[in-house]
């Protein structure tokens, strides 16, 4: 993880750009995807995020960071936003924003939590709730490039109704024998549910996951307790801490 280089000349500033909402996709009862047109978008890598800025009529501005859910191959930039109750920005984005509306964003940001098809080794993704968003950019990128490197997604949601991108993930797994998608429902399961129940534990990680000797590239994204537990389990199972990249969110944000 040590990245040390001599300080260099300043690079150009990431400028605020205008984004226009072209389409809104209702993902779940509290999650929507905003598909944005950004005129001079310079491209991004799967896993990166943007800063978004809203301006009120009073001049008051609020900024938040959101992961990019779309792959670099798509024309529109997709942000998937979960409504955080009591939040200042996400309820506006989820409930009030309409197609045609504009706001500012700048990016892409983050060069660490990134995966491309050029990365060697199996890809192991672990998502908790809306933590799926940056991982979805990786899976979509992999699908667009028709890469057959083995990939595994363990995706933990509260209930079936909370699973984001459900149909698209089912379809991806159906057409791609090298991709496994394992759904985990923590709080409520349908009577007919054959999948995993409760939280992801060490047994599931050992049984379903890639063994350390295969040197998987591991990305964990979700609420802080989810990421803390899983990354600790993975280290205890013998995975190299430097192969485990994490993004944590909540309970604040919003």
């Amino acid at each position: 993880m040590t990245v040390t280089e001599t300080a260099t000349q300043p690079t150009p500033r990431l400028v605020w750009q205008l984004a226009q909402v072209r389409e809104i996709v209702v993902e779940t009862y509290r999650v929507k995807s905003l598909m944005l047109h950004v005129t001079n978008w310079q491209g991004h890598l799967p896993g990166q995020h943007v800063d978004l800025r809203l301006t009120a009529e009073s001049g008051y501005q609020a900024q938040r960071s959101y992961s990019i859910a779309s792959p670099p191959e798509d024309d529109l930039l997709t942000l998937t936003v979960e409504r955080v109750e009591g939040g200042e920005v996400s309820p506006y984005l989820v409930d009030d924003l309409r197609a045609g509306d504009q706001f500012e964003l700048r990016g892409p940001i983050g060069c660490y939590f990134v995966w491309t098809v050029a990365t060697h080794g199996p890809l192991w993704l672990l998502a908790g709730g809306s933590g799926i968003a940056p991982l979805m950019a990786m899976l979509r990128h992999r699908a667009r490039r028709k890469v057959r490197a083995p990939a595994l997604l363990l995706y933990s949601s509260r209930s079936l109704g909370d699973v984001i991108y459900r149909e698209e993930l089912d379809m991806m797994a159906r057409v791609d024998p090298d991709l496994r998608v394992v759904d985990i429902l923590t709080r409520k399961q349908p009577e007919t549910w054959m999948g995993h129940r409760g939280r992801i534990d060490k047994v599931l990680l050992a049984e379903a996951g890639f063994p350390p000797k295969q040197n998987p590239k591991i990305f964990v994204c979700g609420p802080t307790p989810f990421v803390e537990d899983i990354s600790r389990f993975l280290v205890e199972l013998g995975h190299d801490p430097l192969a485990i990249k994490t993004e944590r969110f909540g309970p604040s944000g919003g």
Partner: protein
């Protein structure tokens, strides 16, 4: 961009009561304490922990946990600002100031103008010495009177609260003096080399 678009129907309702001079541009105040780390949280036992002040390859001073705990303690109440936009007001930290570390090893003044903080897990961050002396920087071991939890950087983390909080490196194990400034982990990955929240120096070029 010439014109800032107004977000129709967007109003500030949460932040209005907070004094402007407490919150840098683009930040919002939170009451909880989010965790941001690039990898797994290291679980370092106190008996395996030590901390060193280094100049090049040679240690200027080194302390185990008990020795570090016996150094002069300072408590500070201060606002902190994370580059991911949250700020937290009136946080209380206890630990050893950088000035007291220098005194303890018998240095009247710092031997070089920059330091690199080295941490468990391989994390690094660079800080000008000028931002550590005069009570501006500490190595802290208590948060709100309790040991700092591993997720928040325990056993010990850097505290330089006037810079974005990634400079307040978690799980710190040494401060290494450098003649030339070098970039640490996030600073090499697109984040600002200095990180002044009041100038909104989030990313390279800001």
């Amino acid at each position: 961009m010439n014109e800032t678009p107004i977000s129709r129907g967007f109003r500030s309702w949460r932040q209005e009561q907070i004094p402007k001079n407490r919150v840098p541009p683009g930040q919002y105040v939170t009451t909880d304490f989010p965790v941001l780390s690039a990898g797994p949280t290291p679980q370092t036992k106190l008996e395996d922990w030590n901390f060193a002040l280094e100049l090049g390859a040679s240690p200027l001073g080194s302390w185990n946990w008990a020795e570090f705990e016996s150094l002069p303690q300072t408590t500070i109440k201060i606002d902190i600002h994370c580059v991911t936009k949250w700020s937290k007001l009136d946080t209380t930290w206890q630990g050893v100031t950088f000035d007291d570390l220098l005194n303890t090893v018998g240095l009247a003044k710092p031997p070089a103008p920059y330091v690199m903080a080295h941490c468990d897990g391989g994390y690094t961050t660079n800080i000008p010495v000028a931002d550590l002396i005069g009570g501006k920087g500490m190595i802290v071991t208590r948060y709100e009177s309790l040991p700092i939890s591993p997720a928040h950087g325990g056993p010990a983390r850097v505290l330089v609260p006037h810079l974005y909080f990634w400079k307040s490196a978690k799980w710190v194990r040494s401060l290494r003096f450098m003649e030339q400034d070098q970039r640490g982990f996030w600073e090499s990955l697109g984040y600002h080399n200095y990180g002044d929240p009041w100038k909104e120096q989030r990313y390279d070029g800001d």
